[in-house]
Amino acid sequence: MKVEEQLLPSPELKPLYERITWLYVYRDFSGSESDRAAERIELRFGVTSYPQMMLVDPSNWEVLGHTGRTVDSFERAVARASVGPPSAQAIPRYRQAERLAVALERDPSRAEQSLTHQDPVVRMRALQALAGKNPRAIVERAEKLLAIPHDPFRFEVLRVLEKHGDGLQARALEKLLAHPEPSLNPNALRIQTARALGRCGDARSVEALAGYTRGSPQNTLTSTSVEALAAIAERHPATVRAVTRILAEAYPAPGNRDLARRVHQALETVTGRTVPFPEPYDEAARQRLMRSW
């Protein structure tokens, strides 16, 4: 069911108008005050893709459920969502967190102290400030920060590791690659983790990435894993043989020429050899290429 055209305007949802409070959060990415306020709401609930619909407890921001995209699933989610007793601290706590988050947007000098603040938006603003100002402070705490189950936060830590990380984060990254949950966007989290492993990974990371090189050609994770393995082999010559074997088996089925070219380029980089890429890329060509390395 189309969300904006059919579900949300549906007269069947009218009985729910007074059962819940309806908050509309819209991003235009303009960087205006209203857009930054909308972004802070997204950060609070870990939203990184759209549309998203959820029910939350106003006292503690606990997510009580996701409504789905049908009237039935919406009604069931509302029926199940039960809020606890209202907290007298809820409003002052939220206002204080908002003040601190806005202050960090304007003056990031206290970012390091706020990196492990209990409020997710304050933490995120601190992380964003440090990513630009002092990325080493993030790298040194990366394992602990990656354990925080908040998608935007983890994405930002991973982006920092992709540029500034080192081998000390490899184990934490392999763990996240295998178990991205809880996440609203586990595939995107895996993609960014694979990129970070391209910089930080070592011999043990090769097997962690191997399986993802044979995924769907339409999934960016597949090509990202191929390139991450090539980057690891460049830094760790002892892995060249294993990476070559894995990549040679990663040539996709015919019809996926772009991915095939990326696998091929990665193999040339890893081995230092040049092998002509065949046209057309058909099954016979694929089999020849797999045996070429």
Binding site: L8, T21, Y26, I41, V47, M53, V56, A81
Partner: protein, 53 residues
């Protein structure tokens, strides 16, 4: 050809998120307002996140 271009432009507009919320529900636009209302009535907040396309 022109008809197809016009169709694609109209489709893009139709698919785009909008600053105006969908008709029907009694929307609020600020989280502090939503929190105060929801606490007063002891009910959950429903959040709908969308963006411009």
């Amino acid at each position: 050809m022109r008809t197809w271009i016009l169709f694609l432009l109209l489709a893009a507009v139709a698919w785009a998120g909008s600053e105006t919320p969908p008709k029907g529900p009694p929307w609020v636009r600020a989280l502090d307002q939503a929190q105060a209302e929801a606490l007063q009535h002891r009910r959950p907040i429903f959040l709908y996140f969308t963006k411009t396309y």
